[in-house]
């Protein structure tokens, strides 16, 4: 798979020869800034179209959905449907909607999808994440760590197949970051969701990740930078 980007006359090319995710895996994408990890995450999140690819599939139950074809045919609403049904997202600073309470934020994916965990289960999960007493608050009154925990909770309430987390601990101090990632990992294992976590901090995920992808960046010329994604061996 190939994706090219151009900015200010400088081209960036990301090549992903092979990338596959298994159910229940905790996958880390690690790399320095500018290596293309966010671009890869955009493609995985179905919000960025790859320029070229041989094959791009997702398995929904027993069906194999050809994402390459959906992109080529610009079936945006189908892609949106896949996003809301199969994906959960944890963004850098949480990505909570400021005008909704924590509870409404957590329920939003369920409302959009139309199904998800029962209320008791969500309350139970909230207790485990330590945010149960924050449910009626607006995100602006939460600390960075609390927001991230709410964001993680929100990413899983509608029972997605894959949770994509983009530097979920970037805005949190080191100690908290470890706790959050561990919690995240533990919960994901329990509910059997695949997690793809992008981070520049290899130490954070080194112990937990089932698979780690990283990048090899080469500067081909003054105007072209190439990055190749590969699976790092443990």
């Amino acid at each position: 798979m190939l994706k090219q980007r151009e900015q200010g006359g400088i081209s960036f090319e990301l090549e992903v020869p092979n990338f596959s995710l298994q159910r229940g895996q905790f996958v880390a994408i690690v790399g320095a800034s500018g290596c293309g990890k966010s671009t890869l995450l955009d493609i995985l999140a179905l919000v960025l179209r790859p320029d070229q690819c041989q094959e791009f599939y997702i398995y929904v139950a027993d069906n194999k959905v050809n994402l390459k074809r959906l992109w080529n045919q610009k079936e945006e609403s189908r892609l949106a449907e896949i996003r809301r049904n199969l994906f959960g997202y944890v963004l850098q600073t949480g990505g909570l909607l400021p005008f909704l309470t924590v509870k409404k934020n957590i329920y939003l994916p369920i409302r959009i999808k139309g199904s998800g965990y029962s209320d008791e289960k969500i309350v139970q999960l909230a207790q485990r994440m330590g945010v149960a007493e924050l449910l009626s608050k607006k995100p602006q009154f939460l600390s960075g760590g609390q927001r991230q925990r709410v964001a993680i909770l929100r990413a899983m309430t509608h029972q997605p197949e894959i949770i994509l987390a983009d530097e979920p601990t970037a805005a949190v101090d080191k100690e908290n970051a470890h706790i959050i990632v561990q919690n995240f990992h533990k919960l994901a294992k329990e509910i059997g969701t695949t997690i793809v976590m992008v981070t520049h901090n290899h130490d954070l995920v080194a112990e937990l990740a089932d698979t780690t992808f990283t990048f090899k960046v080469t500067r081909e010329s003054k105007t072209l930078t190439r990055s190749v994604c590969f699976e790092a061996t443990a």
Binding site: V47, S77, R84, F87, T93, L108
Partner: protein, 612 residues
């Protein structure tokens, strides 16, 4: 649509409303800003509408402005009223009598106080009565103007004694009637002392004043008997006239043709043969009817010449059932009949004012079988059919049926003036020729001009408050233009504010919107986000604006209440206008939101993954 999509649609609306609520200060500012645009427009529209409505009200509600009045006396035929009333822009039309005949003396029963009032006819649908708090009088009821009622000191339910006076043959005469007051009109109906009654009472008063009897009211007097008119006169003489005597017959007699009549022609007209020793002359007027005065003049001129004067009405037929009977009219003294070789007639010689007892007789010719002794007969040639009873008195000496000439001469008059047979009085009467004027009300003030024009085209002198109506129209047009100018500027300002604000909001919420997209809302679901917000704010704004409008209009109407009549408002909008304003605001908000909505579709869900 799947239930899932329905759920997410509700989700977008929910999100939009939660966002508005979250940013309630910004929302409130924008709602107030839009309300501040709409409220003055509503107020301005209310003032324009209320002012014009009040002015129009005064015109519309006051039937005086819808009245068209004749300004000169002219005889309006019954047919004219029938024809003109067919126009569909006329609310009410009634004949009136001559102004001089409409003065009556009125007193309250058992009181000595008397007043002189003007008597005006009314009838079903009279707006002057109905729209000034009155009810239409029937039979012996009447309605009074406020001034008239106050002058004599009466109230609804009182009875009035009405005295109609006339001068007949130098003698002062009067008749009385009793009228019950059913309504007293608002002062607005006019400051004159007037009394309104059904048309037939007013007509009876006029007829009485002209000397007629009104038997239905036991008012005595004369009858409008039809005068006699003839087609010509046959003069039967023992010998021919000389040229001088013949020419003399044309002087001051009303006849201008005198010619010798052949015996055959005589028989043709009269139905019997002239004895051979006699000659006959035919006297007639080529251009006019021959009147009773001509008969007397001819009779005078031929005095001493042993002349028999036979005035006649030609070729008359009576119709009974399907049978037509040719009739000749002949009234002669026994002596003259003897000269003509005819038997005596039961009714004798011609009299100027015969009773119907005398003229309602008939002799049947030999060729007609016996009929009932009393036959209902109609006279052909008169417009419509006139029915009257005749007594059969025997056999006619002529080949035609014979009746008194007075009968045919009366019926002959009916070809020129309408005559009726009054069963009660058992006599022919001249019907009313026409009316001295009319009372006319247009349906709306806008109908006044066309009716005015139509009457003018009939060369009638009339007056109407056309100018007052036109002034209001010009004012309305002017105010409407000013209103639209202000409204358009205001609306454009409101739209600009709304577009800018919604567009800026989308810019501000780019990240939130992109998160919604990332979480799986489609482009078109997010498209609705600013639209829902715009609609919600429009509804809040119009609500605020209408509340502000009501409060201010209440104040304005209170301030002006002293100058207004009950129920009138200087600032007023009908509910329909408020509904239209609401729909308009919502539509404008919808259109204004489209730009912002389009902007949302340009937001890439990938932006959610980027931190600024």
């Amino acid at each position: 649509m799947t239930s899932q999509q329905q759920k997410s649609r509700g989700t977008v609306l929910n999100l939009a409303l939660f966002d508005l609520f979250h940013e309630w200060i910004l929302t409130l500012c924008l709602v107030l800003a839009i309300a501040a645009v709409i409220a003055p427009i509503l107020l301005l529209l209310g003032l324009k509408y209320g002012t014009i409505a009040t002015l129009r009200d005064r015109l519309v509600q006051d039937p005086v402005y819808r009245e068209i009045r004749p300004t000169q006396t002219y005889e309006y035929k019954k047919q004219w009223f029938t024809d003109f009333a067919e126009r569909n822009d006329i609310a009410f039309l009634t004949p009136t009598i001559l102004p001089a005949a409409s003065i009556i003396t009125v007193k309250i029963l058992n009181s000595q106080k008397t007043e002189i009032f003007d008597l005006i006819p009314t009838g079903m649908g009279d707006p002057l009565i109905l729209e000034n708090g009155g009810q239409i009088p029937k039979g012996n009821q009447c309605v009074m103007t406020k001034m008239a009622a106050e002058e004599i000191g009466v109230a609804v339910g009182d009875n009035l004694s009405v005295r109609v006076t006339r001068n007949r043959g130098g003698r002062q005469e009067f008749a009385t009637a009793e009228l019950e007051i059913v309504s007293i009109l608002n002062p607005r109906a006019g400051i004159l002392e007037r009394i309104y009654t059904p048309l037939n009472f007013v007509v009876d008063v006029e007829n009485y004043k002209e000397g007629m009897a009104i038997p239905t009211r036991n008012w005595t007097g004369g009858s409008p008997r039809p005068y006699l008119s003839f087609d010509g006169i046959i003069a039967v003489l023992p010998q021919k006239l000389d040229l001088i005597a013949k020419g003399n017959l044309r002087i001051n007699t009303g006849v201008n043709e005198v010619e010798l009549l052949a015996n055959q022609a005589f028989a043709q007209i009269t139905g019997f043969n002239l004895p051979t020793h006699l000659v006959s002359y035919h006297l007639h007027n080529a251009n006019n009817i021959v009147q009773a005065s001509s008969y007397r003049a001819v009779k005078r001129k031929l005095r001493g010449k042993k002349a028999i004067i036979i005035p006649y009405v030609k070729a008359s037929t009576f119709r009974q059932s399907k049978k037509e009977i040719s009739v000749f009219g002949l009234s002669l003294s026994p002596k003259h009949l003897q000269t003509l070789g005819l038997s005596e007639l039961p009714w004798g010689a011609l009299k100027n004012k015969p009773s119907y007892q005398k003229i309602g007789q008939l002799l049947l010719p030999n060729n007609i079988e016996k009929l009932e002794t009393v036959i209902e007969t109609s006279f052909a040639g008169i417009k419509g059919t006139l029915t009257f009873p005749l007594r059969i008195q025997g056999k006619s000496p002529s080949q035609y049926a014979l009746v008194p000439i007075e009968l045919l001469a009366t019926l002959r008059t009916g070809l020129q003036r309408e005559i009726i047979f009054d069963d009660n009085q058992q006599t022919f009467l001249l019907a009313r020729g026409g009316y001295g004027g009319f009372r006319l009300y247009a349906k709306t003030i806008d109908d006044v001009q066309p009716i005015y024009t139509a009457l003018k085209q009939q060369n009638l002198e009339i007056s109407a408050k056309v100018d007052a109506i036109e002034r209001i129209r010009i004012l309305d047009r002017g105010l409407t233009r000013i209103f639209w100018l202000v409204a358009i500027v205001g609306i454009i300002g409101g739209i600009a504010a709304l577009i800018a604000s919604l567009y800026a909001a989308v810019e501000r919420k780019k990240r939130d919107l992109s998160i919604m997209r990332l979480l799986g809302l489609s482009r078109y679901q997010v498209f609705r986000f600013p639209i829902y917000q715009a609609l919600a704010m429009a509804i809040l704004s119009i609500g605020a604006a209408i509340s502000a409008y009501f409060t201010l209009s209440l104040v304005i109407n209170l301030v002006f209440s002293n100058d207004l009549e009950m129920g009138q408002k200087i600032c007023y909008l009908p509910a329909s206008h408020l509904v239209i304003a609401t729909l308009l605001t919502v539509s404008v908000a919808f259109i204004s939101a489209l730009l912002a909505a389009w902007k949302t579709t340009q937001i890439d869900p990938a932006e959610a993954l980027r931190e600024e």
